[in-house]
Symmetry: C2
Subunit: 276 residues, 2 copies
């Protein structure tokens, strides 16, 4: 693991690190924030998965999460959204290929050799961060924005027992029924929709739900509302009596101004589960 | 004035606007945040001046100021750092020309026709924002980062009675004695140093000081410490018995992680003066 930078931030340290990824077959970069208390004892960790076109950097500089994580004594991990580099396949569309990994293990060519973001986030990166930083791996939670909200929800429901709580900012909630989903699942997973079901938050919520609290925030002036399909997830949560809250937020759009505005709520929500 | 964007943020509105500037002879862009309470009554305003290479956007997306301004009921203005555009002179160095206006009225060619940032910020932009938004022009304060800290301090001391309080994040404190200053003042104002004195915070502090509270934050791992000359300003503040505080902040560098980490302190400092 290579240190790209380490900078003091809200009394803790905002770092950026790179490492060779076996899962993705390329060098991967991530951000990690350690709160001040991490100098004295291992801290719980909140994973933040980003949306389409983002790298590890967007949320790290725009979401304002460090202020709240420092106060709550929680580490933050900001992974990249896909494998990257000249040897990694890409596509001219912004929503396919590099920057658009969709948090699945691709089985189709040309994506399969590199686009293994599920394994990267479920297995490889957790091993790397727990080996290198004072993190308490028994206390993990996960959140994300847009495509990252999809990733957070599907990882949380797909790995029972791993995360104590899950939240999403304007998540892609029902990708098998959306142009943000069908296109990418077809490319990465092939046309057989049976292979998609483990990567659709609304379907997973109906099937198994989440053994812990769930918080979803959906802005109402979201320019991508028709692609996110929040009603499918809200309905599934209500039908299942899922412990959690689905918030519809007037006036806000899909941007990081929305994410930053409610980051304190989300970090506090996770802190209640992680510090319990 | 043209609306570029308006987005909900912390219950208020983060806008971006453009207008033809008579002072700068080009179109200028600025950001303006209105807190929720601005829907009911005029609010005080805190000006935030940015550093070298920045546009109106950097602090708007990275400093996290809106959260605190919303709570305190204060508007924020984020001006650009120079005139811009194809008809505006520029220089290959990052610290001269576009993105490096240094908050002075240039008297030298080729800069003079456009680089009138003092007049733009002292006269033109205040008229525009008070005419278009519910701002209380009797309650203004000013802050800034690096070159913007220099701008905030020199405007505050150069326009007595205009601002109730002034603060700076790692300001260029004594530009007449620094490579961040001598080069630009020579280019914009000419070689006669008598013309520079009104644009040097440490000299102005010795000469007249500020009739209100001053807050300076200077990080101690600042990679530009040798260019900022904080000791000249700290010494002048102490010698003059200036109402204020000069904070030296261990571990932090010159970046927006530093600015964001202490933005709450600065906004609260100004709120105490503005809401009094």
């Amino acid at each position: 693991m290579r240190v790209i930078s380490e900078q003091r931030c809200f009394g803790g340290t905002q770092g950026v690190y790179a490492h060779d990824s076996a899962a993705c077959g390329c060098e991967m970069t991530f951000g990690l924030f350690l709160p001040p208390v991490a100098e004295r004892r291992p801290v719980p960790v909140l994973w933040y998965l980003s949306g389409l076109t983002c790298t590890h950097e967007n949320a790290m500089v725009k979401a304002g999460a460090q202020a709240h994580a420092a106060r709550a004594g929680i580490a933050l991990v900001f992974p990249d959204t896909s494998p990257r580099g000249p040897g990694v396949p890409d596509h001219e569309d912004y929503d396919l290929g590099q920057g658009a990994g969709f948090y699945v293990n691709a089985t189709q060519e040309p994506w399969a050799p590199h686009f293994q973001m599920w394994d990267y986030l479920a297995e490889e990166l957790p091993r790397i961060v727990t080996a290198n930083f004072a993190l308490d791996e028994d206390r993990q939670a996960i959140t994300g924005h847009s495509m990252g909200g999809h990733g957070a929800l599907t990882l949380a429901m797909g790995l029972p027992g791993r995360y104590r709580s899950v939240s999403g900012f304007a998540p892609i909630a029902h990708p098998s029924a959306s142009d943000w989903g069908r296109k990418q699942f077809t490319a990465y997973l092939g046309p057989d929709e049976a292979a998609w079901a483990g990567h659709d938050a609304a379907l997973l919520m109906r099937q198994s739900g989440f053994d812990g609290p769930v918080l979803i925030g959906q802005p109402l002036v979201d320019q991508f509302l028709h692609l996110l399909k929040p009603e499918a997830l809200a309905g599934a949560m209500a039908d299942r009596r899922q412990d959690g809250a689905f918030r519809l937020q007037k006036g806000y759009d899909h941007s990081y101004f929305f994410v930053a505005s409610f980051m304190a709520d989300h970090v506090d929500f996770h802190a209640a589960a992680l510090n319990a």
